[in-house]
Amino acid sequence: MPKQVKLAAHFPGVNNTTVWSDPRSGSQIDFSSFEHLARTAERGKFDFLFLAEGLRLREHAGKILDSDVVGRPNTTTVLAALSAVTTRLGLAGTLSSTFNEPYEVARQVASIDHLSGGRAAWNVVTSPDAWTGQNFRRGGFLKREDRYRRAEEFLATVRELWDSWAPDALVGDKENGVFARGIGRFVHSGPQFDIHGAFTVPRTPQGQPIVIQAGDSDEGREFAAKTADVIFSRHGSLESGKEFFADVKRRLPAYGREPGELLIMPAATFVLGDTEEDAHEQAREIRYQQVRPATAIQFLEQVWSRDLSAYDADGPLPEIDPDPDAEPLTWGRVRHEKDPLAVAAKWRAIAEEKKLSIRELVIEVTARQQFVGTARQVAESIDEYVQGDAADGFVLVPHLTPGGLDAFVDDVIPQLQERGVFRSDYTGDTLREHLFSR
């Protein structure tokens, strides 16, 4: 049997991917939008729905960024509500290990696992910055180098709590009056957390809800190799996907784990057309809608750390160099580029060679459209990536909310099923079963 494709549906929260100006673009807040995407994903037999998290509104040059989709509801609340309108779909939420406490996260994720009958997943992210910390009691207390130390002990503590009720602790003997016996005791004493007491949630349907990890650094990958069930990565292209896949899977044996125990699921966008040309034409239009002139300038300003508002987005790149010592202009976006002078030099070279304006360059360097083509071609590519070990599956990021997955489910899923690489129906009830039962 060929390797089976795993699929998740990303509900884009705050982002610059969603084409909000499209007449088909609906609310990113109203529950009906979440319900639509979740029901569509479940109709398509997806493994899970995925929610990201951001705990402060992004700012650019000292002001709240107003050009992208902004605003999102609370992650766990949405997932619990979605459990009411779905029956099999996994429900994955991002919760920071920095601005929460293990007892709370353990309790929330375990509660969702009960309420959904075993479909909960937690994406453990490490948010280091004091800027986000300004919205929290604990403030910006965490040094960058400490965040995985906290994350690792945080997760270990959460798992101790999940394990603290024995499977048979809930006795429920009405006759003899024994409701529960020997329950929930835990003691955790470590450098990050020194807590003890009793957990309030009985062992959940999955026992251990699914754990996802999304960090990309060496420490992040090591953390994932040691502890996670799924990695959500940004390495969607064939080459970087293969490299990332090999790198992460190579780390597993050191922790006594098999390659199949950690699934790698990069984020991926897709554009479907009636013909290949049609799909590429649509993809081009989408890129121009995603990268408006103001967005293009803001994007450069992130690297330059200078006010570039005087520049024309349809003109050439600025002559002046980035200011490598300046404070970042943008807050709330993960920065993966570390050396601004090198980045600027690289971009100038690309722009010169391909004769690109600022806007065209930004479109070029942020191109993230992974799968563009007919439904058949997209299914073929996905299969090729998965069989070629560039991924175990994908977290699909539609550019329209909430209807952006409809056509994928209607047209691509049947193609994948025909190829024998995707389930035609759920065979288990829990997310763990969807992801790991053969």
């Binding site: 050009s67 509801p73 309790r107 009691r137 006795v171 929930g184």
Partner: protein, 356 residues
């Protein structure tokens, strides 16, 4: 008719009922207390009778007691979130512990419950006063009662500021200028309290009700600030909460005859004493006579009922007490509004940041 005072009625859905031995005599399976279906079934009963709201208690520790009582529970807010999309009229007021939970998370979670329920969310803001909870967080010492209540009031204040930090209509999707939001309609709250500070704005737009309904227990002498006050001790409560909707806590043990109700109560007391606090034991019709009288003589707006056993006492209450109250003109025949604020007659919540 028409002249009778309209009561507001909420019902507690805790455990298998208010009495510690309720789980032993109820038809409910003990494991059902950890499913959404249990809470949905009881919320639907309350909704069919057009009651104002249901509540669900919570703490960040196990309930006290031994093997013979219900122990363990799911997160109350998430439990109500899991019934929000599949109910349509009933208000949902989960307890949230304000001493340990981040106020920012409370604000967005309650706002999101309001979105998922389309305007039926509330929050019962309760400070924590147990060493057990302190030990679960391991970072603070047990606050005094006065400090815990003061911090509770601070949380209530800041969560409303965060709800207001997006004005209604802040999402503009203005194609010509390329602006998704009008940032003039977003506000930093810059809250600096005695216990914490928060920058804001919220990450969640202003919820459908503007301000979901905030309730507190009014039994502590230090409690203050809320739309709705739930109190067992009603003497002096009206003076202390002149502007809030004041609902008295009342446990109920019902049966078709007075005698049968007393016997039900005795049967429960054979297992364990009845919990402290006001209670009514009698017929549904007797309760319908008693409630308007109690409300009128104590200046109450209504009652927070705690069925001794679920679903038994809730089923009798909705099937018989409510119609009798309706016949007497003391309770609505059906929902007249869509939101919990509508049910409670709370009016539109003003936005503290919007220009008048």
């Amino acid at each position: 008719m028409g002249s009778a005072q309209q009561l507001h009625l909420g019902v507690a859905l805790d455990g298998a009922g208010q009495h510690p031995a309720a789980w032993r005599v109820s038809d409910v399976r003990p494991s059902a207390l950890f499913t959404a279906a249990h809470y949905l079934a009881h919320a639907k009963l309350a909704e069919a009778a057009s009651l104002d709201f249901v509540t669900l208690d919570d703490t960040l520790a196990l309930q006290p007691g031994g093997e013979e009582v219900v122990r363990g529970r799911l997160d109350a807010l998430l439990t109500f979130a899991a019934i929000a999309p599949v109910t349509s009229g009933i208000g949902l007021i989960p307890t949230v512990t304000t001493t340990h939970t981040e106020p920012f998370h409370i604000s967005t979670a309650v706002a999101s419950l309001d979105f998922a329920s389309r305007g039926r969310a509330g929050v019962l803001a309760v400070p924590s006063r147990t060493e057990a909870e302190v030990a679960h967080f391991g970072r603070r010492t047990l606050p005094s009662e006065v400090d815990a209540e003061a911090e509770n009031a601070e949380v209530v204040d800041v969560i409303a500021r965060l709800w207001d930090s997006w004005e209604d209509g802040a999402i503009i999707r203005d194609e010509p200028t390329g602006r998704f939001i009008d940032r003039e309609k977003l506000h930093y709250v810059d809250f600096e309290g005695r216990f914490f500070s928060i920058k804001g704005p919220s990450i969640t737009p202003r919820p459908p009700q503007g301000h979901p309904v905030v309730a507190v227990y009014g039994d502590s002498p230090y409690a203050h600030g809320a739309d709705v006050v739930l109190a067992d001790e009603i003497r002096g409560a009206r003076e202390r909460f002149p502007d809030a909707k004041l609902l008295a806590g009342l446990s109920i043990v019902l049966a078709e005859t007075e005698q049968a109700a007393i016997e039900r109560r005795r049967a429960l007391e054979a297992y364990a004493p009845f919990p402290p606090g006001p209670s009514f034991t009698g017929t549904p019709a007797g309760l319908a006579t008693e409630l308007p009288r109690l409300a009128a003589s104590n200046g109450l707006d209504g009652f927070h009922l705690r069925p001794a056993v679920l679903p038994d006492d809730l089923a009798l209450f909705t099937a018989e007490t409510v119609p009798a109250l309706q016949a007497a003109g003391a309770f609505r025949q059906a929902y007249t509004g869509a939101t919990l604020r509508d049910h409670l007659g709370l009016g539109v919540a003003a936005n503290q940041y919007a220009e008048a």
